[in-house]
Subunit: 104 residues, 2 copies
DNA sequence: TTCGATGTTCGACGAAGATCGAATGTAGGG
DNA sequence: CCCTACATTCGATCTTCGTCGAACATCGAA
């Protein structure tokens, strides 16, 4: 149960980022984090099981989009700020068209 | 051998567009078309077989990114202009970071 | 009509992905 | 130390994807 791996910024690849964003569940997660900055890793209004949610969060981490933090027994995730330097404006451009079905 | 289907603009979905762009071959195709406007459907410097190329072009058409034109025995593809109205700026934002390995 | 060039479709294949429930690990509280 | 809450991992299942070569369809030309 250690934290998810985070690739160095230099190895982040555009197609992997797009692939990570191409799933509705993951797009919702990213949209929520863009709005809130950080959330507990279970506090997304997803209809998927917790194991599936964990899977999606892992994918986002491995693609370089998210960072993962543990605090006691809870986990928190947020967008990686370096991503904005690597692909400035990209996330905003995509999120602009994402339907905001983000659960509170 | 009829032309590939083109969905009406209203049914084009963001996640499908992102998925279409998340493959390196398809991203190259879109980048080349953005630059040239139109190309013969085989005139991409792809290393994949013609059947695979045809498959990718079909995917791009079905996702709503490309339009397909026949002229005699040749085929030409180009970006769908309506896409810019549906998702203004999106393609440019993505292509800005696409490595330009586009064969002439 | 036969041929050649151009594209598309058809299996087939392995790889990757989405999903779930069950099992496991980890921390904090009694 | 045991229990519970939380999160991840594992195993299983199904689906989708990228790829190829082969087969097929279509058009224009000889």
């Amino acid at each position: 149960m250690r934290q998810h791996p985070q690739p160095p910024i230099s190895t982040i690849v555009l197609t992997d980022v797009l692939a990570a964003l191409s799933d509705p569940v993951r797009l919702d997660i990213v949209a929520a984090l863009k709005q809130d900055g950080e959330r507990g890793s279970t506090e997304f209004g997803c209809k998927v099981s917790s194991s599936t949610l964990s899977h999606h969060i892992r994918q986002l981490c491995e693609a370089g989009l998210l960072q993962h933090r543990k605090e006691g027994t809870r986990c928190f995730v947020s967008l990686r700020p370096e991503l904005e330097q690597k692909f400035p404006g990209l996330i905003d451009s995509v999120l602009r068209f994402a339907p905001k079905e983000i659960a509170a």
